[in-house]
């Protein structure tokens, strides 16, 4: 009996412990091991930060040369005061990790294809593609080049050491809550991880191409129809750099050097236009605005600069605000987790901001295999060996996946693991795989310390990828913009279609020389701007292609063009502008084609409401949902014959509007299945009916644009409890306030370059990455209502301000 009682109680106790030790599930949700997660001494309760007070200690960290003071303001922005940039960067690494460690970890895991190590089988496909696209290969090439610059290497090491000084002092109790939820531990940082963060940004911003879809479209339609459907130049475009005769005498050295194989039938392999399984491609959603207005147009007579990069919005926020003060610089702005220096910001003399350059810098080369095992391929009749790279993807709870990636002179063969993939025999030539300039990693630090236009141009010279439009202004009155990046020299149309990998002459013909990259300074019109539109008009002698923005840029141009006596408030008004040029272009055309006599009472009411709409996507407006559903149906019905094919290029929306307006009898308005020949008028009326039907079925979608768009701010691991699902905002991707369901202005910044430089800014999130901190999402509501914070730009660590929360002092640790 006694034995039995003892054994039973021991068994029950052991079972209880076991149950609390293994991961659990609630419904379909995975839960962490309950015992360690609820344990108040090391579980999630330790992440409940005090809601008031200042509780950061004064760490000693190795490698510091002097004492560094970090002053925190009431938004938890660290203001770093250091004796040298190296010390500042070391502490930047430390404080960034202090607030955003899990975000840093998961971002580099995603870029390097290592998510499955901690998330299990569900992310294997994502990891595999990251590896096969050569993300780590690209990061290793970055590092190889950066290490050739001693300063660059020193800064990267200092940043890494700062992050690691923070990690080293952590006990499991101190880990960010996501580590506890997902049940794994942080690993040390390294310069390679910084390169991976940069590559993740490149993947995000410059990995888009339409090569396969264009090749298919060309094969199906032939050249004339192709040119009719997909013109490269939108006549309404308002390019970043106007033609002022500056490139009249430039002869691209390589244009016409090789005869390209554009229209050869082997590139337009008929097999690839048959319906194939859908391969997911991201819709083109990233964009940004920036501009600088010269003193001639401002009330103060000093320049104003504005920037709002539009990215996938998430919590924790993509940006981290920071001030870095050293004897050589005093700079404020936003940084990226894992990257030393400030990316977008201002100092006592200058301000700058970035938008993405939408050039296509990734091409596909169809290989001619020399052997059935695909170990060799032909280039100009000579067989070359592929270089095999073995990728081992570790998967939590499963056997690792071994994968072999073949690298060619063009780049990796990405899709050959899937015999059905239309790009299975193609290699990816992608600019981000190339070694960058050695100084590439310290571009932003040089910019942070810049004092004038020459410093800015000198700093940018080493910047190549992902290409960015760097807008710039100085307190002394200069405004400028540079379409900075490394661009291949292409023959006309080269890279629009899949290229022939068996011919060296299909290779890129070198790169556009730095001094011929589009740029301008102090134009008489008194402003510079960009919004992801074409860099230049077609007269620019270097051929380029890409996905260019057609609406925001025109609206911003028109607003800047009439500015007089501009103030910070006028800049805010443009950033928050919900006016859509797409709606303004399309709606009058569509209303003119609409046959009102055939509408029912409800339809007439809707048409009236649309006719009275001012083309603004305000959150509480009810007309925008009507227009968007109508326009989207109209677009889909116009291109329905292509929509059914996989990997087919669909014409751009501006071209669709142009056809609705000017070519109503176009054969593309016809539905092939009917005996009747439809025109634009039929499509517009049919889609109006579809719109009515849609709202009859979804009456709740009718209530307002904000509700219709359904904006969400998701946690990076899609944990709903750590997301903000209650934010209602207006805006539209075709309006300067480029809001979408999960994308939008990730940092709104305005800088007034007066006698004393002042900055205003806000981002949808908070400085802390801890969902248990009030600084996790404290700026979200301010952002949603279109308000800004005055950025606290301190002159010294001793400066008195009511906004100071506390100080953290860093000292060198005795070694």
């Amino acid at each position: 009996m006694r034995v039995f009682r003892f054994v039973l109680s021991l068994l029950v106790t052991t079972l209880l412990c076991w149950q609390l030790m293994v991961p659990q599930a609630a419904g379909d949700k995975k839960l962490p091991p309950i015992g360690s997660f609820f344990n108040p001494f090391s579980g999630f309760w330790k992440n409940a930060e005090p809601a008031s007070g200042f509780y950061y200690g004064n760490p000693e960290i190795p490698g510091l040369r002097g004492r560094v003071q970090v002053v925190y303001d009431d938004l938890l922005v660290p203001h770093i005061f250091a004796e040298s940039m190296e010390d500042a960067v070391r502490v930047q690494g430390y404080v960034t990790a202090q607030h955003r460690l899990w975000q840093m970890d998961i971002a580099t895991r995603k870029a390097s294809g290592r998510l499955s190590e901690v998330l299990g089988e569900r992310t294997v496909a994502i990891d595999r593609l990251s590896r096969r696209r050569g993300m780590v290969f690209a990061a290793e090439n970055d590092l190889k080049a950066w290490n050739r610059s001693p300063e660059s290497s020193r800064m990267l090491e200092a940043y890494s050491a700062g992050v690691n000084a923070y990690i080293k002092n952590l006990s499991p109790a101190d880990y960010p809550i996501e580590f506890k939820l997902l049940d794994y531990a942080p690993e040390p940082w390294s310069p390679l991880k910084t390169a991976l963060v940069v590559e993740a940004m490149a993947e995000n911003l410059c990995s888009r191409d339409d090569d396969l879809a264009s090749t298919n479209a060309l094969a199906l339609f032939g050249k004339d129809t192709f040119d009719y459907l997909y013109p490269e130049w939108n006549p309404k475009q308002q390019p970043i750099i106007p033609d002022t005769g500056q490139w009249k005498n430039w002869q691209p050295a390589a244009a016409g050097a090789g005869q390209l194989s554009l229209n050869q039938s082997k590139n337009t392999d008929n097999q690839s236009i048959k319906p194939t399984p859908a391969f997911e491609t991201d819709p083109y959603v990233e964009g940004s605005n920036n501009w600088a207005v010269a003193g001639s147009r401002t009330r103060s007579g000093h320049p104003l600069l504005a920037n709002d990069p539009h990215l996938t919005l998430s919590l924790p926020s993509i940006w981290f605000q920071l001030q870095i003060h050293t004897p050589a610089q005093n700079c404020y702005g936003v940084s990226l987790q894992g990257v030393p220096g400030i990316i977008i910001g201002f100092n006592e003399n200058i301000a700058w901001g970035v938008t993405n350059v939408s050039h296509d810098v990734s091409d596909w080369y169809r290989l001619q295999w020399a052997d059935p095992g695909h170990n060799r391929y032909m280039v100009d009749g000579v067989a070359q060996d592929v270089v095999e790279k073995i990728e081992i993807i570790d998967i939590k709870g499963k056997e690792p996946l071994r994968d072999t990636v073949r690298y060619t002179v063009w780049g990796p063969v990405v899709y050959d693991f899937n015999p059905d993939h239309p790009l299975r025999d193609c290699a990816l030539r992608w600019i981000t795989h190339d070694e960058p300039e050695p100084g590439g990693s310290i571009v932003f630090m040089a910019l942070n310390a810049g004092k004038n236009y020459d410093d800015y141009r000198k700093a940018l010279a080493a910047y190549d990828c992902p290409a960015q439009n760097f807008v710039f202004a100085t307190r002394s009155g200069d405004v400028a913009i540079t379409v900075q990046g490394r661009y291949p020299v292409r023959a006309p149309q080269q890279g629009r279609f899949i290229l022939d990998g068996s011919r060296q002459s299909d290779a890129w013909q070198g790169f556009v020389p730095a001094e011929r990259v589009p740029a301008m300074k102090n134009l008489s019109r008194g402003f510079v701007f960009s919004a992801n539109q074409n860099s230049t008009p077609p007269s620019y002698p270097y051929y380029y292609l890409g996905g260019f923005e057609d609406y925001r840029s025109r609206e911003i141009f028109d607003r800047l063009d009439v500015l007089k006596n501009a103030t910070v408030d006028s800049m805010k008004a443009i950033q928050l502008d919900n006016f859509s040029r797409r709606a303004a272009d399309a709606l009058p055309v569509m209303l003119a084609l609409l046959d009102r006599s055939r509408l029912d009472a409800e339809g007439k009411k809707m048409a009236d409401e649309l006719a009275a709409w001012n083309f603004r996507y305000d959150a509480d407006f009810t007309a925008p949902p009507l227009f968007d559903v109508w326009f989207d149906s109209c677009y889909d019905k116009t291109w329905d014959e292509m929509d059914r094919m996989e990997s087919m290029l669909i014409p751009e929306s501006w071209r669709t509007i142009e056809l609705l307006e000017k070519d109503t009898a176009s054969i593309f308005f016809d539905h092939p299945a009917t005996t009747w020949r439809e025109s634009a008028r039929d499509i517009v009326n049919e889609s109006f009916g579809l719109m009515q039907a849609y709202f009859r079925q979804n009456p709740q979608k009718r209530s307002s644009w904000g509700k219709f768009m359904g904006f969400t701010l998701k946690h990076l691991a899609l944990i709903d409890a750590f997301s903000r699902m209650d934010v209602v905002v207006g805006g539209h991707r075709t309006a300067p306030n480029a809001m979408q369901k999960t994308h939008g202005p990730s940092w709104r910044m305005i800088v007034d370059l007066g006698d004393r430089v002042r900055g205003y800014g806000v981002f949808p999130g908070g400085q802390s990455g801890n969902p248990g901190s009030k600084f996790y999402d404290n700026m979200v509501d301010t952002w949603a209502k279109g308000a800004y914070y005055d950025l606290l730009f301190l002159g010294s660590a001793e400066e008195v301000s009511t906004r100071i929360l506390g100080k953290q002092t860093f000292s060198p640790s005795p070694q």
């Binding site: 006694r2 344990n39 001494f41 409890a721």
Partner: protein
């Protein structure tokens, strides 16, 4: 009664060793030790140790939670079937109590077995 109080105090006080790196299940052997050293009936050992473990875990969760104004517990509760902050504290206490209590019962029975085997040759 006094012995029950000792068990309670033993578990509650030594349990704070978990603050210094003892794993979360450390409270089980601590409960067992209390059950062995301070023999009562099985039920009373369990009860006294449960109370000690409950208070230990609950209190150490409640203190940071109240300083945090319940911000994190409200979010974490959503992950666990929509529990409210207070319920989460209760669950935490019960877990600590169960672990300590089961440890104490096991310790008590172990002693019974050991002592019993000696006294009954």
């Amino acid at each position: 009664m006094r012995r029950a109080l000792y068990i309670f105090l033993f578990v509650f006080l030594t349990g704070h060793l978990c603050r210094f790196g003892l794993p979360w299940w450390g409270i089980v052997p601590l409960g067992a030790l209390a059950g062995w050293l301070l023999p009562l009936s099985a039920a009373r050992s369990f009860g006294a140790a449960f109370a000690g473990g409950f208070l230990l875990w609950m209190l150490n969760a409640w203190l940071p939670d109240s300083a945090n104004e319940g911000l994190l517990s409200a979010k974490t509760g959503q992950l666990f079937l929509g529990l409210k902050s207070g319920h989460l504290l209760l669950v935490t206490g019960i877990l600590g109590g169960l672990l300590a209590g089961m440890g104490a019962v096991t310790g008590f029975f172990a002693r019974e077995l050991y002592v019993g085997s000696k006294s009954n040759p």
